[in-house]
Subunit: 162 residues, 2 copies
């Protein structure tokens, strides 16, 4: 898979890298801080959106070719227990990991370039309100992904996809 999905450089240091306290967090619970976990955390801290397990395995392998899938998946389990990531099983069944659901936000995904951006609460407010009022549906924003085409791709041509 190619893509270095580069989204908007997230320079909001609102939350001081929660990853930094992870080693201690783990040790405090009798768990261990290992090189393999560091590799994964490294990848996750660089990621901005949602990733599948396979993508994470790939990226970890980029950083450390000796990476093993089982280790990655097991560590993801641990991280989810700690609340650092969350896996969303969309209706499609595939699992997808969301990094740091600290602020409630969804995602925008460009089907042309593969880019990914955050969809924040204010932008989705209208939809959320509409669905709540109209059908009592309570949107879980962090699980929402809006697919479409980003401004750049729209500008570069009205091609649809063959």
């Amino acid at each position: 898979m190619s893509g270095t999905l580069r989204a908007m450089p997230s320079q909001q240091t609102a939350a001081p890298n929660p990853w930094e306290s992870l080693p201690d967090e783990l040790r405090a619970r009798g768990m261990r801080w290992t090189p393999q976990r560091r590799t994964l955390i490294d990848v996750l801290s660089r990621a901005d959106g949602h990733l599948t397990g396979a993508e994470l395995v790939d990226r970890c392998r980029d950083a450390d070719p000796t990476t093993t899938p089982s280790t990655v998946y097991r560590t993801l389990d641990v991280l989810e227990d700690l609340g650092l990531i969350r896996h969303a099983h969309g209706p499609a069944g595939r699992e997808e990991f969301h990094v740091l659901p600290t602020t409630d936000h969804g995602h925008l995904h460009c089907s042309s370039c593969g880019g990914s951006w955050e969809l924040d609460a204010s932008e989705a407010a209208g939809l959320v309100r509409e669905l709540h009022r109209g059908r009592g549906f309570q949107v879980s924003l962090s699980h929402v992904t809006v697919v479409g085409r980003c401004a750049d791709c729209v500008a570069s041509g009205p091609r649809q996809r063959a």
Copy 2:
């Protein structure tokens, strides 16, 4: 509010049940109408939203225990060529089949009960407008799935996971 709604060239009023014309449609292209295909079309015509291949295989097996996965998947390919279904590969990678994408609509998915509903253009209009105005993002509604909890589940208690 210039609608991007475009009427489909033909067969609009001709087939409230487009499945009915399928046998002829197939034969017109030198393809065949078989019992196995009838089974799948039967299942699809009963389905209202999005289904994974595995779900379709299951349902076909309900109707006809001799159903084979390969046949189902191959027929899905054909149906997609004919434009009767569309497979959406969300960012998660898993494929999901949408039945009859005649009207542009997204989906609502309840994470508690697994229920699924259509999200029509009018409900999403606010979001679509907001994203277009704010970022030039062109939403592809048929690929949007809004996850949350439906009114019933919300009412039956603030439980988080089922």
